[in-house]
Amino acid sequence: MYGYLFRRLIGTIPVMLVVAVFIFLMLRLTPSDPAAILAGDSATTEQVAKIRGQLGLDRPMVEQFFIWSAKVLTGDLGESFFFKKTVASLIGERIEPTLSLSLFTIVFAVLIAVPLGVLAAYRQGSWVDRIVMGFSVLGFSMPSFVVAYLLIYLFAVWLDWLPVQGYQRIAEGVGGWVRGLILPSLTLSVIFVALIARMTRTSMLEVLSEDYVRTARAKGQSERKVLFRHALRNAAVPIVTVIGLSIALLIGGVIVTESVFTIPGLGRLTVDAVTARDYPVIQAVVLLFSFVYVMINLAVDMTYTVLDPRIRY
């Protein structure tokens, strides 16, 4: 297993290299100019050119790439064109809100979706099953910003239970931190609840028809034990795969959700950086997201060995 883990870790190097080249080229080939944005509306062509020179954007593209990649290899992600702060410090400031939002979302999604999926499978064909599957279709179909506005209207504007927007850091108080995260994480979790519940149901249906489930029932085990100890554990591999995929998909989701709820996280940083063509920030964030994606996939693969002892690498 350690050999497999090592090979997988080595395998991330070419992946990251391809991502680095791709994102670098994409940014340079799009018709945009951070210098013109920085200079403002009344700047002359000369002023824009001067700023371009200061940013090093007037150098050949290959030279720019080697300068950047050499810095990245030494752990220097560069300095933001706009904020005059290092990219590493910007990411450091923004990581807590994004991690908090992701954690809340996955916890909500798993806690809601897995029991719903188990219940739907157990009551296959009943109204419970239909409601869960109906919700699942709805969850897939509704864009997250629509869900966001509906939840905001209901819980923040109409009932006045929760704030409309904003994020409070955990150091400033756990209560405010939790209150600020409920609506965004509920918004973001809807699609994952739909996905995980559906997968749980399908996987459970397969397992529930197995002989060992019948044996467990014949031994007089309670339905709860049959479902959660025998069936769910054996159905877990595809469910964990979907949960792993969900964590990876969260990266896309936080971008929209953080913008709507004004959460100063990595998603918002990405949007701001793309809008302003802040190349160093975009490059670093995309690299970071890619790395996280690869690591999550690796972690999911490793989890299989725990859930199913038959799986060996």
Binding site: T30, P31, S32, D33, A36, I37, L38, A39, G40, D41, S42, A43, T44, T45, E46, Q47, V48, K50, I51, Q54, F82, F83, K84, K85, L90, E93, R94, Y149, I152, A156, V157, D160, P163, V164, Q165, G166, Y167, S259, V260, F261, T262, P264, R268, L269, V271, D272, T275, A276, R277
Partner: protein
């Protein structure tokens, strides 16, 4: 159980002590959503409006224009002009301090003027008349001119980007092409750099030692009395969410609420929607003079007859309360605005436009019109222009892109089929289009002009003449001539004016009507 009770008792005692220790009068904090997030902090290095607004929070100016456009002393106690109009003597007010507690001196003001003038178009023009700027003593300095100009007062009181903000000598001596890193000002608020989190919030705290003028505030002039302890600019990018937050009391004001969402704000008894007549904007059409078909003045002339302002304004703002048809080059109602020569233009006389195109031998070369799609106030402009131009006989290739791509592409001089462009539309704020020198698109100095690069000696001579005179009647006369010349050469076409109202919680009072949003005089009542 006993320990638990003791813990509860202890916590209650600590809580009570903390409550007792709280200040008797709570700090007042105003939470505002501005039109953009603050990313750059040097108002001389960039012309971005949000940075200008930041400048007004923490810096002060030597002179300022009141709400009628009259130049008034601000940091200076007085200024004197010699009988030959060639020497200006400025004397600073007593008690002016930088945020670090050191006094403001002439030694600070001179490099501040020089740094501003190195970057700003009006400043550069002003400096072409300046012989020397000399320090007389700590509170007095002189500007000596090679020949008289009205630009000294107009320039040093310039209300919009770049504003000649005063900075400490050590900061003002920064190379103008580099951003400053020390944000010590002498304005009514202090920038809380440690609390600045781009994408989240920008914080200013009241400068207790600021010495405001005794006159009531008027425009950018008069007493800048900070009545709020702390101002927070919150970065809420979603327009609907900003409205929700205002209605719920999570914020106190929105600088520019979206026009289409104003309906719900007006119905809310807790919200005031205030129209500041000085926060007008002017839509303009900018042709590129370098390439076909707009390298031909007669083809450009046809545009004046193809367009009408009502169509542009209704398609973008759509509410008659916030729009104004104004064919005048300078914002209607301001000192140099005039209706002269605008009688038969901008009323969609397609027949006349077609005749002009025929006379110009227009060969159907497509006009590459850049269409900005992500800024709501601009999105519908290009489709209206396309429709009107096509009715006049133009062939239009409208290319959609986000605003930042427009910004990047408009700087390119390449032909339209090689990544260049023929035309785009944008908006200017009142303070930028007040006279022939400050209006950037009138600069017709060929390669040195702003993108679009008009090239016209007559226009440049008129702008120089304007700069040379300080007689308001003469300035008005020259402004009218500039307007006439603009119609002939089509450096730009004004296609209507609109106002962006501001929205406040009812308990926020004291808005100063000024050409930029300012936070002095604002207060939060109970």
């Amino acid at each position: 159980m006993y320990s638990f009770r003791k813990a509860i008792l202890a916590a209650t005692c600590v809580g009570s002590l903390v409550a007792m220790a709280a200040p008797a009068s709570a700090q007042t904090t105003l939470r505002a959503v501005m039109h953009s997030d603050l990313k750059i902090l040097d108002p001389i290095w960039t012309t971005a409006y949000i940075v200008r607004n930041h400048g007004y929070m923490i810096y002060d100016t030597l002179l300022a224009q009141d709400e009628k456009g009259a130049v008034k002393p601000q940091m200076v106690e007085k200024y004197e002009v010699s009988p030959d109009n060639k020497t200006y003597t400025f004397t600073l007010r007593d008690g002016l301090l930088w945020h670090d507690g050191k006094p403001v001196t002439s030694e600070d003001c001179i490099p501040s003027i020089k740094r501003w003038a190195a970057k700003d178009a009006m400043g550069q023009k002003m400096m072409s008349f300046v012989d020397t700027i000399d320090m007389v003593d700590a509170k007095t300095f002189t500007i000596k001119l090679k020949e008289p100009t009205g630009l000294v007062l107009l320039g040093l009181s310039k209300p919009s980007s770049n504003v000649p903000f005063m900075m400490p000598k050590r900061v003002a001596e920064t190379d103008p092409s580099k951003q400053i890193e020390d944000f010590t000002g002498s304005g009514p608020f202090v920038f809380a750099k440690d609390e600045w989190k781009p994408g989240d919030k920008t914080v200013y705290v009241k400068f207790d030692k600021y010495k405001p003028r005794s006159e009531p505030p008027s425009g950018m002039a008069g007493g800048k009395v900070a009545k709020i302890d702390r101002v927070e600019w919150r970065a809420i990018s979603d327009a609907q969410q900003a409205i929700n937050a205002l209605q719920k009391g999570e914020i106190d004001m929105i600088e520019q609420p979206s026009h289409d969402l104003l309906g719900s704000l007006k119905k809310d008894a807790n919200i005031d929607v205030i129209v500041s007549p000085m926060l007008k904007n002017q839509y303009v059409f900018r042709p590129n003079h370098l390439h076909k078909p707009f390298d031909n003045p007669k083809v450009r002339q046809a545009l004046w007859y193809a367009f009408n302002q009502e169509d542009f304004l209704m398609a973008t703002i759509g509410d008659e309360n916030y729009i104004k048809v104004c064919k005048e080059l300078f914002i209607c109602g301001t000192s140099f605005a005039s209706a002269k020569g605008t009688e038969d233009i901008l009323s969609s006389n397609f027949k006349k436009a077609q005749e002009l195109l025929k006379e110009a031998n227009y060969d159907g070369t497509p006009v590459v019109l850049m269409h900005s799609t992500d800024l709501k106030v601009l999105t519908n402009l290009a489709p209206v222009a396309k429709s009107l131009m096509e009715k006049a006989g133009f062939k239009v290739d409208m290319q959609s892109m986000d605003w930042q791509t427009v910004v990047a592409r408009r700087a390119k001089k390449d032909p339209p089929n090689a990544g260049g462009w023929n035309a785009f539309l944008t908006a200017w704020v009142t303070a930028d289009v007040l006279n022939p020198v400050s209006t950037g698109y009138l600069n017709s100095s060929c390669d040195k002009a702003l993108f679009g690069w008009p090239c016209d000696e007559t226009m440049e001579k008129l702008r120089d003449d304007f700069a040379r005179t300080s007689d308001p009647a003469k300035q008005k006369e020259i402004s009218e001539a500039v307007q006439k010349r603009n119609i002939e050469i089509t450096a730009e076409i004004p296609v209507g004016e609109y106002v962006s109202p501001m929205a406040f919680r009812k308990n926020v009072k004291g808005l100063v009507i000024a050409p930029a949003p300012v936070f002095w005089n604002l207060e939060i009542t109970k």
